[in-house]
Symmetry: C2
Subunit: 128 residues, 2 copies
DNA sequence: TATAGAAATAGTAATTATTACTATTTTGAG
DNA sequence: CTCAAAATAGTAATAATTACTATTTCTATA
């Protein structure tokens, strides 16, 4: 993989952003630094960075894919009330992987897990 | 929810098909019985059937959404070699849900889990 | 049983995320 | 430096899904 200024900026934005970003959000943030960058470049690089495990693609059961810099493998929790996507701690992922590998004998290389439910903040709140 | 012949046929096709079906596959199968059915009707009904928990939407990290009749909640395993999507046994889901609920305190209402890896058939096989 | 209004449909158009394409520019090894 | 491979910008294309609308189908109830 050859160096590129654009990819460097994309990684930088990903690192700075604690939350999860869609391709469009990454595009908008990188554009502030480099207004000529193209959306195609964002997509191409998000894909290669995901392949290289430098970032993580999160496939969600609503809307479009999101991307996450958090370098340790971890799963996600989507609150259906406030519509926030939370990271779960990495050791949860380890346990789940262990359960599945022990039960099935499959060799798990990758997880794409999104739990849905209601988060602490929204628990007990009325509909809004 | 009002009865409709179209929705009845869709559910019937889902029940008969043991595997997972994309909206287009459902469309093609229902069309054999009712050639005038519209793809929009398929999508609308797959959505309401999923909301009613009569079928399950599987959001996969490749290609488009798939739908599954299996009425008990369960997760999925995608083999990256043969590109098959397998059902995991329901008790695995129960255990995972338990792990997450105990650790986070979140109330889990729904899971969207796709593990990736290599299945038994493909284990040890060369690339192809 | 007749009927009115709500819900569903077919068919088409629109939307949106993502990928493909191409001429040009950038990168880095020799 | 030089040159080929890789990356880019900008645009066009693709594909899944949803929105829209005139028409049809259900079903509760009069």
């Amino acid at each position: 993989m050859k160096y590129s200024h654009q990819r460097e900026l994309i990684l930088q934005v990903m690192k700075q952003s604690l939350g999860h970003l869609t391709a469009r959000q990454v595009y908008q943030r990188v554009k502030e630094e480099l207004p000529t960058i193209s959306l195609g470049t964002i997509y191409r690089n998000l894909n290669v960075l995901d392949e290289q495990n430098l970032i993580r693609r999160i496939v969600v059961p609503y809307g479009c894919d999101e991307f996450d810099y958090n370098p340790t493998e971890h799963s996600h929790f989507f609150c259906t009330k406030c519509e926030s996507l939370y990271d779960l701690e990495a050791h949860i992922d380890q346990k789940m992987k262990q359960v599945v590998e022990e039960t099935t004998g499959y060799e798990i290389t990758n997880t794409n897990v999104v739990f849905k439910g209601v988060c602490h903040k929204c628990h007990g709140r009325k509909e809004g």
